[in-house]
Symmetry: C2
Subunit: 453 residues, 2 copies
């Protein structure tokens, strides 16, 4: 196979204290809930020339099992809301992209388009919006609903939401604001465009009351891997944070999504696929394994049992931890979509209850690689060269140490292999990701005449 | 009258390019649409020990008369959205308060509570929320409505919105997060409180998924002067940006609103009243008048006629600018609430059409003082000592020069008179404004037992 000509893109998925479920208990992990902790991480990633920092989000605390929740750092309670946090980070960074997650189910498109447009302008063209539909059933109860919104309804709304937001971002042409003191003309009315959207979920007249940004508009990112999620991504997204585990799954997903682009008049390079990876790296394999084990030992049984319950829908709290997984355990009210998968794993490998939760709890179901810098670089190179990924979203087990380990040990190896940049290519997120500057869909090329309606 | 023991509070009302309607055309005004312009203004105000910077907002461009709109800087199109802009400024300032305007009619209380809570945490306890109900009729069309929302409906929603937001800000007690590595307890379940709000407009379970801030919660600010506006302020606000013009109006408003506090169990000091002032200052009166005239001369007739139409509901575009205001001019579709006021002014003083718009256009209806540092200080002192104000929101005619003039010329005079601080009293906005740390309304004083429901 010919070597790819482009390079690996890297994102730092920032999660306070780290991605391992027990990271917060580790003596080397920062509590991570102060703004200065995020400044440190963002500057680390920027100094290493990462493309982006990325923030997940949810709009509900996950406290149904309050005993288990109170033993975790990540119960859906975030130290900061992502749009405000990235805005604050925009003024202390210069080059790195700033991607925040925000929900189409529980936001308003005018406000969201405006805030992301504003972040994009504040940062000189470095913003990205990770579009999610919020699968968390608890979120609905914070927004007036009696029950969770159905998956199909969420995606129908998301499709229209994306259209409204993209339309609003084209309210003003790039050169609409003249600010001509002599003639007294502040903007050119011909370069202003109302949206006049009227659909099933939204009625939005526009225009958006904020000018365009240096990169035209924020980069649209997505994560959903369902059929409607892939279709929405192929139509509107410019990056995907994928979650496939094996190489085969990754290349399959990659080919599937990229194959959908042409029917929307888009090309292979218009969408970057960036799987998440949970890397535990050290100079030797045994050292890396020790690092991982030190984290695993900090997982509390309440937390492990809660995760089994969440994933498999069975309640194992009344059974001995170091005994076998019982044949017909009692069911909980939680979802059962992965029940067979989890219980089959326990039976196939003859795991105790504790061994079962240790297997699924640490990286919380993400692609996990424990090894030397060469091991990690091999894995990334293989996935990149085989078109399973255009880059990776690094989910460091503990912060800030996990991120600085990756930067000190793995990034130089990727550079040695010619797989990662030495300097930023441009000043905007689009330029660094290798995405085109988006033309304004409403631009007419005219000026002077009134085009406000 | 005994001298007041407290000191004047000062806010810098930041508006890009300046508050005069034609400021953007003045050669000394900054275009003001870059982030660096706001950094400069915020640092200027902070170096002078101002209490706050303040940002107005609206959620619609005002482009109905696109010809007039295209000749103004302030047509409702802002360079940045306020919450994101203040978040970005939070990381390059240390002491100054950060007050953003946000609408109860076109926002969601969970998202708003979370973003302001986040800004409050990012800034170390310096955030304030200016609660508005958005009178602008164009805003409704960007949020699914067919017509403007009635004033009474907006205030009914605002009352409930404020209750939800204040309740959500008490979701976690100040010391709820233990983060105790040894025991494995991340938070104390007894210090977590769900809201379980169910009202006419909102159904919100809670808790908010963000911890409390160093000042407990953001400072609540209001501007409305209507009867329901004053009542809502007396019940919930901690500062009011008032807009009264004369001393008599100001002292009347002050006594009226402060008089309403006791019925809500609040005291005189729990609410600060801060009128806006549009100061044009120079070392001599004639120099100040020249400064003002130089701005007035830049007002374009289209802009002046549009302002007359907006305030009075009459269309004077077909009459000679330097001729008299006609007896029965044609009406427009705009509001007519101040028709008599504006036309009476023209007749009483025998003004031409041009003279009429010059009288009302410059400071856009705000309290305007043109004079020497002593003149301005005299006016502020009189209003403060007579309990017409607890401080002032400075609306500089042009930026940054108008603000730096006020700081260089007026602030030292206020200090000389013992009316303004030399150093910040504290690190939070509440401490500087002289407001109490709010107790958590849900706190039980217990710990250990589950209080999540």
């Amino acid at each position: 196979m010919a070597k790819r000509k482009d390079k690996i893109k890297l994102g730092a998925f920032l999660l306070f204290t780290g991605h391992h479920v027990a990271a917060w208990r580790h003596p080397n992990a920062s509590v991570g809930t102060e703004f200065d902790n995020y400044v440190e991480l963002a500057k680390l990633a920027e100094a290493a020339k990462f493309d982006t920092i990325f923030l997940a989000d949810g709009v509900a605390a996950r406290i149904k099992d309050v005993e288990a929740a109170s033993r975790k750092a990540h119960s859906g309670v975030y130290p900061f809301e992502p749009i405000t946090l990235l805005s604050a980070l925009s003024s202390v960074t210069r080059n790195i992209g700033l991607i925040a997650t925000a929900s189409t189910s529980y936001s308003d498109p005018y406000n969201l388009a405006r805030q992301f447009g504003s972040l994009d302008r504040l940062s000189g063209g470095r913003a990205g919006w990770n579009l999610v539909t919020s699968a968390d059933p608890d979120a609905a109860f914070n927004f007036g609903h009696e029950t969770q919104i159905l998956h199909s309804d969420r995606y129908e709304r998301a499709e229209e939401f994306a259209d409204v937001v993209l339309g609003l971002w084209d309210s003003w042409e790039d050169d609409a604001f003249l600010r001509d003191r002599a003639s007294g003309r502040y903007f050119d009315p011909a370069k202003l465009h109302r949206l006049n959207h009227s659909g099933r979920h939204f009625k939005v007249r526009g225009p958006l009351n904020i000018p365009r940004s240096p990169q035209g508009r924020p980069v649209v990112v997505q994560a959903g891997a369902s059929e409607p999620g892939k279709e929405l991504a192929a139509r509107t997204a410019e990056a995907i944070f994928a979650a496939q585990i094996t190489l085969e799954e990754a290349t399959g997903f990659y080919a599937d999504v990229k194959g959908r682009l042409t029917k929307y008049g888009r090309s292979h390079d218009d969408l970057k696929i960036l799987p998440g990876i949970f890397p535990v790296v050290a100079r030797t394999r045994s050292e890396a394994e020790e690092k991982f084990e030190a984290l695993q030992e900090l997982i509390q049984p309440e937390v492990g049992l809660n995760l089994i319950s969440q994933l498999s829908g069975v309640d194992l709290r009344d059974y001995p931890l170091d005994g076998p997984v019982p044949e017909n355990p009692p069911a909980t009210n939680a979802g059962k979509s992965r029940q067979a998968l989890v219980l089959d794993l326990a039976r196939r490998e003859n795991l105790t209850i504790r061994q079962l939760y240790l297997r699924i709890a640490g990286a919380r179901g993400h692609w996990q690689v424990v090894g030397t810098p060469d091991d990690i670089a091999d894995q990334l190179e293989e996935r990149f060269e085989n078109y399973g990924a255009d880059g990776f979203n690094i989910m460091s087990p503990i912060m800030p140490g996990g991120l600085s380990d990756f930067i000190e040990l793995v990034v130089p190896e990727l550079r040695r292999r010619g797989l990662f940049r030495h300097e930023y290519e441009g000043t905007t997120l689009r330029e660094n990701l290798g995405l085109k500057h988006p033309e304004n869909s409403r631009a007419t090329g005219k000026s002077g005449a009134v085009a406000a309606e």
